[in-house]
Structures are given as structure tokens and as C-alpha cells.
């Protein structure tokens, strides 16, 4: 286990370093300042870029050394406008977490439940309906789904009935009192629903197929022959075994969603991590881009460890004695 952790750490370091080099070499922060009217003096630009450690005149290796040194000490550097990346990332992780936590929980549980029921009622109406609906949702690009939901609510409930842009209405920004919570919930409704629908659609497909494999299995028949009732046998022996292959998929998807909810965040104006990645690239912000990459690599590490641990906890066959 420790060896695995060490392996993961090496991988994270490699991934983060590589992405810094790629970002550092391909993004052109000076472009943000060039061609302005009135034009900025070359020395001023150079000075500004030096301040944020993004001056292309400094060799990439020494820029990397400065950045890496900062990262090791817990400082992700400054973003292109001079503000600390740490603050920005910290705030956005909070936003992403608030948006995703509930949605992924509901999405995962819902997906597993729907998939299981679909398998048990294979080719019945419920199964056919959920299969069709899942493929409908999966076939739609995320932003189309988001817009679709927006339009639906506006059409049937009237424009402005549900507020969905941003995390809160302006008046409640940063507030956590009772009224603000209600407003937050209202704002969460549509982006949350988008994410839930997507995840339910995806996970239910996997769960359905693993459950179908288990349904014909001999041990389920043994459980029934012991005298377990149908439902008890299906849950205790069937679902418990069928969920195993889905666990790594669930864990990776859930953890990486923190960075993968880009389009949902964009569509609904939530300023989360996914949005940050796009924004930082368009702004030629090397440090922020690298920070997002580091964050992603870290998530992969966590997902890997988590799925290993969870799998070992659930399946005695992989435990080493």
C-alpha cells in the first residue's frame, strides 16, 4: 500500500511538472499586454510578467524552479492579474464541492439503483424506458442538456420562477443564513439536476450489465435455495457482488467530476474549478493552468487510492493475507 502511494506521488509530480512545461511553453502571457492602445512599454510588460514569474525571457527551467519551490511550500504562485492562485483555487474548490457533492451522491445511488432494477426487470417497461432515457441523455452534449432544462423550466414555470444563474442571487452572495440557504438550493436545482441526470444515465448502464451477469449466477441460486426470499437474495448476494466492478468506475468518475463539470459550471455561471481551467487558458495564465493540472493529478491520486481501498474492503479476493 505504501509502495503504491509512493508510485502515485511520483506520477503526480511528473504529471504536474509536465503540465507546467507544456503550459509555460505554449501559453503566451505577454500577449495579454501587447497590442494595447496605448501600447505598454516593453519594460513595463517585462516587469509585470516578472512579478508573476511568467516572463518568457526567463528560461523555462528557472521559471519552473521558482514555481516548484513555491508549490513545495504550499504556494501555487500568482495568477496573471497578480492575485495569489491559492485564494482563487481555494474559493473555487468550495464552489465545485457545493455543487457536486450532493449531485454525485444522488447520481451514484440513483444510477446503481436504476441499473439494478433495470436488470431485474429486463425487457419490461421500466427497463426499456430507463434504457431509452439514458441513451437520450448520454447522447446529448452537457450544455445542450443544461439549456434544455433551462428552457423547460422557463416554458412550464415561466421565466424567472427558478433562478439558476450563479450560486446565489446577488443579495444573498456570501451569506449562509436561512433565507440564503433557500436561495442557494434554488440555484442548485438545475445544475444539480443536470449532473444527476448525466450520472444516473451513465452509472445505470454499467450497473445494469454487471447485475445481469450476476442474475444468472449459481451463487444467487444457492442463496435462494437456502431459503432467502427473492428480494433479500438479490440485494444481499446479487447487488453486493454486482457492484464490485462498478466501484472503481464510480470512484474515478465522482472524484474527477470536480474538474470535469466544466460545461455545467459554464452553462449555469458557477465559478468552479472546471470553469477555472478554461478561463486560465484563455487568459494565458500559466500558473493557474498548472495549479488546475496539479489539482487534477492530485484527484487522480486520491481516486486511485480510494478505489483500491474501497475495492479491498468490498472484495475479499483481492486482499493480501
Amino acid at each position: 500500500m505504501l509502495r503504491k502511494l509512493a508510485n502515485y506521488l511520483i506520477l503526480v509530480t511528473l504529471a504536474a511538472s509536465l503540465s507546467y512545461f507544456i503550459a509555460g511553453l505554449s501559453l503566451h502571457p505577454q500577449a495579454n499586454y501587447e497590442g494595447r492602445n496605448p501600447p505598454l512599454a516593453k519594460s513595463t510588460i517585462s516587469k509585470t510578467l516578472d512579478d508573476v514569474n511568467m516572463n518568457p525571457d526567463t528560461p523555462i527551467v528557472s521559471r519552473f524552479a521558482t514555481w516548484a519551490n513555491g508549490v513545495v511550500h504550499g504556494d501555487l504562485g500568482k495568477s496573471i492579474d497578480g492575485s495569489p492562485v491559492n485564494d482563487e483555487v481555494g474559493r473555487r474548490i468550495g464552489v465545485s464541492t457545493r455543487l457536486l457533492l450532493l449531485a454525485t451522491l444522488i447520481g451514484s445511488v440513483g444510477g446503481v439503483a436504476l441499473g439494478t432494477i433495470g436488470a431485474i426487470k429486463q425487457y419490461k417497461f421500466f427497463d426499456r424506458f430507463t434504457t431509452l432515457a439514458s441513451f437520450f441523455i448520454l447522447a446529448m452534449p452537457v450544455f445542450v442538456l443544461g439549456l434544455f432544462l433551462k428552457l423547460l423550466t422557463m416554458k412550464f414555470l415561466g421565466a424567472g420562477t427558478i433562478h439558476f444563474t450563479g450560486e446565489t442571487d446577488a443579495e444573498f452572495a456570501g451569506r449562509w443564513d436561512f433565507a440564503a440557504l433557500g436561495n442557494r438550493a434554488e440555484h442548485m436545482l438545475l445544475p444539480g439536476l443536470t449532473l444527476i441526470l448525466l450520472q444516473v444515465a451513465l452509472y445505470s448502464r454499467y450497473q445494469r450489465s454487471t447485475m445481469l451477469d450476476v442474475l444468472g449466477s449459481d451463487f444467487l441460486r444457492t442463496a435462494r435455495a437456502k431459503g432467502l426470499k427473492r428480494r433479500a437474495a438479490l440485494v444481499k448476494h446479487g447487488l453486493r457482488t454486482a457492484i464490485l466492478p462498478v466501484v472503481p468506475l464510480l470512484v474515478f468518475n465522482i472524484v474527477l467530476l470536480f474538474i470535469g463539470a466544466t460545461f455545467t459550471e459554464k452553462t449555469f455561471g458557477w465559478h468552479g474549478m472546471g470553469e477555472l481551467l478554461i478561463n486560465s487558458i484563455t487568459r494565458n495564465d500559466v500558473n493557474t493552468t498548472s495549479a488546475v493540472a496539479l489539482f487534477t493529478a492530485g484527484l487522480v491520486l486520491i481516486a486511485g487510492l480510494l478505489s483500491d481501498l474501497l475495492y479491498a474492503a468490498l472484495d475479499p479476493r483481492v486482499r493480501v493475507r
Binding site: D218, L228, P316
Partner: protein
């Protein structure tokens, strides 16, 4: 239990029959009344092709303490009927008739009511113990679950009881083993655990569906012993479903033979085995190779295949395969009834004739197999060696660690094998699963140049051969695999499958075009079917295609890896006859690997018995079967059930204890000593010798060696 030779029927070896039931400790049940009574059971499933009538009227009754055997080939409806008894068929199945448990009708009960009966009054043992236990729960937890469903018990009480049960079924160290998971159990132990679960709630009936089919013979003998003990403990009736006529002969009191969803013959084992009156039963008994049969004659296969259960032909379903079918058989389906001159019921219009004018022994035409005159007249020593292994060794390093691999041990899969095969002979290689048979084959086919030992093929040492020479050698050495479905590419027409080896060896188009139909004809298939795909053929036909493919390049040596073990017995006989015939016609030599000793006895001239990577006994067929001298060979042979009820009852089994040790951990000295029944009878000094000294081959006859310090012949069949 520490490895003693245990007689198969402790204390009670009196013949069992309907009248003479053994004492049963349980007093709840009236022993004269059937505990399970099935009447006119019919099961059908809807399918795209139409209604599948899987079971078409099954009736039987079992009394407490009685064993009913249900025999039939795959698809005969024997398993479906037992699932119907338990109410475990899918909802789409339509079940009619009557199933009465101690007088109570089970058909039509709700799932909740049936759940109270399943596992309590009816215990169930399934075929494949690997997949029949839930992999994520410990064995103990699964037994505890079975107990707690039906009995008011605390967790501790149930656990204590589970440990007792594991002890009853002979799991060593049950206190520790109770917390093991199924994957930590061997196949035999898993089946014991299944039996423990089945008897946990003192059932009135135990239904065992092919309980020993996936197991080695030595383990099969152990498990049957446990089943018998389980029956003694619970006094239950057993319904034993199997395709193996040998298992039933020694185990059951009565037997019912099923064909195409219906019982076709039913009676006491003695009546059915000694006086079969239905041509199907007669055919089945004639088609199995027998361990106790010394004369080498062709088996009598039943031609054709069982009918489709969707559109059964009019009349008797067996008529198309029956050698004595008359017009009436094709018009009217016979009912199961006692015919004139018979003692037990059969479903055949001509049963009464079989009791009189017709001799059951001669109704099947015995196929002619030409004898190999030239070869047998030449003494063995003067024939050419086609394959010679000298101290063939294959060790795998056992490593640990993901990045930096450390060697922590050695798996001695093949640990020094020396044998030879001469022109025109068949060498049978037998041994339990895990003993290294397959590794040996793969090593031979690989033409190894590394590790210790040499492989010499047709007089050429394969070490130092170039690519072209190796390719040429491979042409002369071909293999037929066990599973004919998996070994043939489902996306290629069989003509292409047969042409492929020819193309690889650069035959020209015209020669290939001429060769393919010739090959199909040679294995008894219609050459016009060359453009069909493998799935359009039955299992037996597919194995014929595999054989044709192996023979395409006119090899001299064919390696047969369990070629008939996936086939039903009636089909198996035809394939074995074909192999016999081809061998003589084409002057082939076979290396025949099998776990079924009866099959090996039928086909092999010489036998090599393998144990844990080593040949422990080698010799001509007669020496090995009539005077087995290594204690392992003796145990192996004595574990094989004979399809002969009387002899089965009289035989004493040498039961081996435990399982095959891991080849990563081979015992010192003699590798068999920790399971050896003979070891226990030796003096301390002699035991020390087994402990310290790896036994060399001692020569017992001209062509008979055994690797045992104290080899003595013993008749066990």
C-alpha cells in the same frame, strides 16, 4: 483423519434396496411414506423459436433415507425438473403437475411460503462449487445465514453450529477455516461446505445436482462419502442428478433414466443396470468405456443427437436414434409402464421383446475397427520413438512486488518427466487437476530449449533447431483441445478452419481444395457442409472438426488434451471409436491426456500416472490397471466408480485425504508421502526413508516402473 484407507461403507455394507432401508435416527418422519412425491411434472419455457417443453411428465417418489438417481444427458430435463421442485425457475417458466413434500402440495405456493421450505425441508447441492458460493462472504457467514433464516439463533450459536457442521463434512481445522472465503477453499472443500449448508437445517430431502461433476475422481470419492454421511446424520432422502452412470451405481437405491424431458426407464439400480429394457438405457450402458473391462473392443455409440425440445417429432423421441425402432415408434409415443415380462417400468413399445426374443446385448451394431496388424507384430523396442522426454522440467519463479520483483519461491509445475512414445501407440497421461499435465503438453508443443531436460521429437533433439526445422517438426505434431466450442473460431466456416494449417505450410490451392473434403469424410462428416460455421454443429461433431484440423497436415503424433471430457457419454463413444480407427488407418501415435481413467483404459496402450509434476508410475495398460503398484495409482483407480451396482457395493475404496499440495511447496523426499495410505502402515525407519529420499523408479516388469520405495501390486478394480 490423517490419511488412512477408509472403507467406503463403514459398518454398513449390506446391499441397500427398497425393502432394506438403513436405520434412520430421525423419528419425525414416517419411513414408509414418500417424503417427496412428484407427479406428472411438466415445465415449458417460451422462446423465440417456440415453446420449449423441457420437462414432459416426470413422476417419482422418494422415501426417507432412500437415494433416487436421475440420469440423463445434457438437455434431458433432469436439472430443470429439480429446479421446478424448489420453485427456482424463472417466472417465464410454466410448471404444471404436482410436487408434494410430506403430503403438502408445493406447486402454487407463493415465493414467501416456498422460502420457508427451501433450505429447511429441502437442501440443495449444486454442481460447480466455485460459482455456487457468493465470493464476497466467508464460508462461515454463508452457513450462518442458512441457519439464521430458518432457526431462532444468536450469531454466536449459529457460528458454533457452523463450525460443527464444517467438522461433520470433514473440513480440517474448522475453527480457523470458518472465516475463510470461498476462494481460499479447494474445489472439494467448497463442495463439502455446500453440503454443510444443505444439511444445516436437517432437511427431509437433499437434492444434489451433479454434485461431483467438476471434481477429480479422488475428490469425488471423498465428496460422495460426505454426502452419504450427511444422509446418515439427517436421515434425509436424496435425489441425485447426474450424467455419470458410475456414480449412481454405487450411490443410489433406485434410478430413473431421462430422455427428452421424460423418464424412459425406472427401477432399482440392479434392475436397470443388469436388465435394461429400453434401448436408450442399453445404449448408454454400452457406450461408456469401463475400467473393469479388459478386452479392447469398439464402444457402441448411439448415433445421432437428442431431438430439439421445441418441435418434438411425433412418436417416441428416441426413435430416430434407436436401432430397433419400428413404424409404431414413429407414430405413438410410448408411456412409462411395466411391460409384459419386465419387472420395472419402461417407455418403449418393444420392451417385452427385449425381455424375450431380442437380446439387449446385440441390438446395437458393434462398429468394426481394423486391428493394427503390422504394428502390434513388431515388438515395442524395435519401433521408432516419436517423442522422447528426458527429465523435462518446467519451473516458474514465484515473485512478489509490483515494481521490483523478488523471487520468493519456485512453482515446480513439471519436475523431471521422462517417458517415450513409440510409433503407433497411445500413451495415456493421467492425474488430478493441478498435477502438471497441461504444462507438460504446452512444454512439448513449445519445443523448449531452456531449463533442464530434453525433448526429442522423431529422433531430433529440439534444442539447437532453427526456425524452419521447428516449423517442420510442428507439422508432424498436432493437438486437439478439450472444449471444441472454444477451440474453433466461430467466425470461420469449417472449410476455412481446415484449410488454415495447410495454407500456413504453403500447400497450393488445388491440393487444399482436394484435402478439405477428404478430411471431413475421414472424420465422418458430410463434405458438403464445408461452408457451414462451427455453431451449426453439435458438440461431438465439433470435436470431429477439431480432430480433422489436427490431422490436416498428416501428422505422426497427435496430442489429445481431454478430447472427450466435454461430451455426453453417448457422443463420447463415437469420438473415441473414431480416434481408434484413425490411429490404425493412419498409423498415428497419440499422447492422450485425460482425467477419466475409464476412457484412458479404453484407448491407451501405455499409461503414465502423474502426481505433482512427476510421473509416479509408468507402464503398459495391463500392468497399470491389473497390478497398480504405486499407492497413488491404487487410490486413483479405486476412486473411479464402476457402472456396476453389485461390484460397487462390494468394493473397498482407498480414500485419499486432503487435496493435491501446491507445486510451490513440494514435500521433501517422496512427494506423495503426506497423503499416502501406505506411508501410515510403514515402520518408523521406513517412514524416515520416504521422508528423506526421493524415490527413484523401480522396475516391476519389462514395461512397468513405479517411483515408490515400497511398490507392491494391489488389485483395486
Amino acid at each position: 483423519m490423517t490419511g488412512a484407507a477408509v472403507p467406503s461403507q463403514p459398518a454398513d455394507s449390506t446391499p441397500r434396496s427398497k425393502e432394506g432401508l438403513r436405520p434412520v435416527t430421525d423419528t419425525r418422519l414416517d419411513k414408509s411414506q414418500p417424503v417427496l412425491e412428484v407427479t406428472d411434472l411438466e415445465v415449458s419455457f417460451p422462446s423465440e423459436a417456440g415453446e420449449v417443453r423441457a420437462v414432459r411428465g416426470v413422476s417419482y417418489a422418494v422415501r426417507p433415507g432412500e437415494v433416487l438417481g436421475i440420469v440423463g444427458e445434457s438437455g434431458s430435463g433432469k436439472s430443470v425438473s429439480s429446479m421446478a421442485v424448489l420453485g427456482l425457475l424463472p417466472d417465464s417458466a410454466e410448471v404444471s403437475g404436482s410436487v408434494k413434500l410430506a403430503g403438502r402440495e408445493l406447486l402454487g405456493l407463493s415465493d414467501n411460503e416456498l422460502s420457508k421450505i427451501r433450505g429447511k425441508d429441502i437442501g440443495m447441492v449444486f454442481q460447480d462449487p466455485l460459482s455456487a458460493l457468493t465470493p464476497v462472504y466467508s464460508v462461515g457467514a454463508q452457513i450462518v445465514e442458512a441457519l439464521q433464516i430458518h432457526q431462532e439463533m444468536t450469531k454466536e450459536q449459529a457460528r458454533t453450529r457452523a463450525i460443527e457442521l464444517l467438522d461433520v463434512v470433514g473440513i480440517p481445522d474448522p475453527r480457523r477455516r470458518v472465516d475463510n472465503f470461498p476462494h481460499e477453499f479447494s474445489g472439494g472443500m467448497r463442495q463439502r461446505a455446500m453440503i454443510a449448508m444443505a444439511i444445516a437445517n436437517d432437511p427431509k430431502v437433499i437434492i444434489a445436482d451433479e454434485p461431483t461433476t467438476a471434481l477429480d475422481v479422488t475428490i469425488q470419492a471423498q465428496v460422495l462419502e460426505v454426502l452419504k454421511k450427511a444422509q446418515d446424520v439427517t436421515g434425509a432422502a436424496i435425489v441425485m442428478i447426474t450424467h455419470d452412470l458410475g456414480v449412481i451405481a454405487g450411490f443410489a437405491d433406485r434410478v430413473q433414466v431421462m430422455y427428452a424431458g421424460k423418464p424412459v426407464e425406472s427401477g432399482s439400480v440392479d434392475e436397470v443396470y443388469y436388465h435394461p429394457r429400453m434401448p436408450y438405457t442399453i445404449g448408454l450402458l454400452g457406450s461408456i468405456p469401463r475400467l473393469d473391462n479388459t478386452e479392447r473392443r469398439a464402444l457402441t455409440p448411439i448415433e445421432g443427437t437428442p431431438p430439439s425440445m421445441v418441435e418434438l417429432p411425433k412418436g417416441c423421441p428416441f426413435a430416430a436414434r434407436c436401432p430397433i425402432a419400428i413404424d409404431r415408434c414413429r407414430e405413438v409415443e410410448p408411456v412409462l409402464s411395466v411391460k409384459e415380462g419386465n419387472t420395472h417400468p419402461t417407455a418403449c413399445h418393444r420392451s417385452h421383446e427385449l425381455a424375450g426374443a431380442l437380446d439387449p446385448a446385440t441390438i446395437y451394431p458393434v462398429p468394426e475397427i481394423p486391428a493394427a496388424v503390422e504394428l502390434t507384430s513388431v515388438p515395442r523396442e524395435q519401433r521408432e520413438k516419436v517423442l522422447e522426454l528426458d527429465n523435462l522440467t518446467k519451473h516458474f519463479p514465484l515473485t512478489q512486488g509490483a515494481v521490483i520483483k523478488r523471487k520468493v519461491g519456485v512453482v515446480k509445475a513439471v519436475d523431471g518427466i521422462t517417458l517415450d512414445i513409440r510409433e503407433g501407440e497411445t500413451l495415456g497421461l493421467v492425474g488430478e487437476s493441478g498435477c502438471g499435465k497441461t504444462t507438460t503438453l504446452l512444454e512439448i508443443l513449445d519445443l523448449p530449449s531452456g531449463q533442464a531436460g530434453t525433448v526429442t521429437v522423431f529422433g531430433k533433439d529440439v534444442r539447437g533447431l532453427g526456425r524452419a526445422d521447428r516449423k517442420a517438426l510442428r507439422r508432424d505434431m498436432q493437438i486437439v483441445f478439450q472444449d471444441p466450442m472454444a477451440a474453433l473460431d466461430a467466425r470461420m466456416p469449417i472449410g476455412d478452419i481446415l484449410a488454415e494449417p495447410l495454407k500456413t505450410h504453403n500447400w497450393d490451392k488445388d491440393r487444399i481444395a482436394a484435402r478439405v473434403p477428404e478430411l471431413l469424410e475421414m472424420v465422418g462428416l458430410n463434405p458438403d457442409h464445408a461452408d457451414r460455421y462451427p455453431q451449426e454443429f453439435s458438440g461431438g461433431q465439433r470435436q470431429r472438426i477439431s480432430i480433422a484440423r489436427a490431422l490436416a497436415l498428416e501428422p505422426k503424433l497427435v496430442i489429445l488434451d481431454e478430447p472427450v471430457s466435454a461430451l455426453d457419454v453417448s457422443i463420447q463413444a463415437g469420438v473415441l471409436n473414431l480416434l481408434d480407427e484413425l490411429k490404425v488407418k493412419l498409423g498415428l501415435s497419440y499422447l492422450f491426456v485425460a482425467h477419466d481413467l475409464s476412457v484412458v483404459r479404453h484407448i491407451a496402450d501405455r499409461i503414465a500416472v502423474m502426481y505433482l509434476g512427476r510421473i509416479v508410475e509408468l507402464g503398459d495398460s495391463a500392468s497399470i490397471f491389473d497390478a497398480p503398484s504405486h499407492p497413488y495409482t491404487q487410490a486413483l483407480l479405486s476412486a473411479v466408480p464402476l457402472p456396476d451396482p453389485r461390484r460397487e457395493r462390494e468394493r473397498t475404496r482407498i480414500l485419499l485425504t486432503g487435496d493435491l499440495p501446491s507445486p510451490a511447496n513440494v514435500p521433501s523426499g517422496c512427494r506423495f508421502r503426506n497423503r499416502c495410505p501406505k506411508f501410515l502402515t510403514l515402520s518408523e525407519g521406513e517412514q524416515q526413508r520416504c521422508h528423506d529420499e526421493d524415490p527413484a523408479n523401480s522396475r516391476l516388469a519389462a514395461d512397468h516402473v513405479a517411483a515408490c520405495h515400497f511398490a507392491t501390486a494391489l488389485e483395486v478394480i
